[in-house]
Amino acid sequence: MHDPFKFSGKALIAIAILIAALVALPFIANAVGLPATTPLATRLLIYAIAAGSLNLVLGFGGMISFGHAAFYGVGGYTVGILFQHVRIGEPLFGFIPGTEQFLIAVPAAILVAGAFALLIGALALRTSGVQFIMITLAFAQMLFFLFVALKRYGGDDGLIIRRRNALFGLNMRDDLTFYFVVLIVTIGFYLLLWRIAGSRFGMVLGAIRQNERRVAALGIAVYRYKLAAFTIAGMGAGLAGGLVANYARFVSPDMLHWTKSGELMVMVILGGAGTLLGPLFGAFALVTLETVLSGWTERWQLFLGPILLLIILYFRGGLSGLFKFIGGGGK
């Protein structure tokens, strides 16, 4: 079968092992005396969500969005601003009360980011190709400067969130607890991506990437499907942003900067665009490389570049292609 979204027995075992390893990771890290691994792994998972959401448009839909960090940042600021209004005890815009509840703040982050994605997508998707890249970039930079200018929420310096959001009376301050919260969200998010990719919607999206003209000739209103995918992807980035605001207890305009959009793109391409788990591998590889290399040398980017280049040049499917090659599952 050529169905990339149906897993063979071997792939299912590999996924089970991956999940088991992620569950065991913080305990092993503590046992071997590397407790800092847990927060690092939390950050990896959050990036995996952000990159996974970008993959929906970039990998599955073939839309090269260069402004995805905008939605990540908007999600982060949603959590940050809602928290800020609890602290100052005054509603946002005079009527929206602040919140420090995880189950309100994070869904709000998803919705607000989705609304921005719907708006930006509605305009940007009127174009394609290089124009689309430039327009998504331009919108993202506009939002970046908007948050720089928002002195009320810290402007350039960013906004400190004094406490993580509350969830079921869990001790969210505890890195281990927070790691498992993020892990559950990540697994749920990837399950959702898997369902979407194989659904009727996913079939349309994959067809649009390959031959838009053909899809229109089938009587499918291409624009609507692209916009839906763009919006869902924005919501996913908003989720990641909401989580990272909790993780770091800090948001800043850097989250929306174009270099962050670029980083997310590198994760997707490095891991394997259009593959289900590629962005997860890509996020892991990029953050791990950054961490390891920057521990060795200040000029770590000088070494990161060639490594990325080699992987992308020699393994067209990114890391997913590499794993397939090793596992012998590829063609």
Binding site: R195, G198, F201, A207, Q210, A228
Partner: protein, 250 residues
């Protein structure tokens, strides 16, 4: 006589200084096969692309079943019953033959904003798609990715995809182009078997195929129809002989 299914009135299209469609008036009756022939550069594909909505005419109207569809976008015309095949096959490289037809069935059933159920396990899509592949003789190749299909098989697949949309009028843009003699004969036979189920506007260079399939033939030269009539009329028409059939056919 009843109103035609498709009526093209005074269609006019220019590209810069070039007039590609020049005040073209043409009709297709329900159930008939109307062939559009003409030398290379006569503007046949330009007409097709204006009918499908990929190109907007500078002037003129296109009526389908009496309704003006001139300003409708591509996808909306398909839902009005206007199907097409492409001269150069337009397929999705990683999808199988069955995927293509199932996607067309899915599009015909309505919107595809369904996010959870696995489309490749959906019998409501797969069964009708299987039946259509059998109809065009591709059943044995259903699970092959289109990249491994032959040119002839891809042309058959184009047709199966068009059939899935249950068109009232099918625009066939050179269905025999690039086919060998045997494949070409099979395609003619296949189209022959579909005749009467829906109307067809057939653009084709293969005169043998045109004469055996078409009820009426229009000859397009320089973007205008210089003659319309039965095969015998067209072959006898002196203007057509000069402009098109001419010495090259002798």
């Amino acid at each position: 006589m009843t109103a035609p299914l498709l009526l093209i009135e005074g269609l006019y299209k220019t590209f810069g200084g070039l007039t590609a469609t020049d005040n073209l008036t043409l009709d297709v009756r329900a159930g008939e096969v109307h062939a559009l022939i003409g030398p290379n550069g006569a503007g046949k594909t330009t007409v097709i692309n204006q009918l499908t909505g990929e190109l907007a005419p500078n002037a003129g109207r296109i009526l389908l079943d009496g309704q003006d569809i001139t300003a409708l976008p591509v996808h909306a015309r398909v839902h009005r019953g206007l199907g097409r095949t492409f001269q150069i096959v337009q397929l999705m490289g990683t999808y199988t033959a069955l995927d293509h037809v199932a996607l067309a069935v899915q599009a015909h059933q309505g919107h595809s904003f369904r996010f959870f159920r696995a489309a490749r396990d959906d019998r409501g899509l797969r069964d009708p798609a299987d039946a259509l592949l059998e109809r065009v003789g591709l059943k044995a190749r259903a699970d092959e990715p289109v990249a491994s299909l032959s040119h002839g098989e891809r042309k058959q697949l184009e047709l199966a995809v068009a059939l899935a949309m249950e068109p009232r009028l099918l625009l066939l843009d050179e269905p025999m182009a690039g086919l060998g003699a045997v494949e070409s004969a099979q395609m003619v036979e296949l189209l022959q078997s579909l005749k009467g189920r829906f109307a067809m506007l057939l653009v084709e260079h293969d005169m043998e195929a045109v004469f055996s399939l078409a009820d009426r033939i229009s000859v397009l030269v320089g973007g205008r129809a210089i003659a319309t009539g039965s095969a015998a009329d067209i072959q006898a028409d002196p203007a057509v002989r000069v402009a098109y059939l001419g010495e090259g056919d002798a």
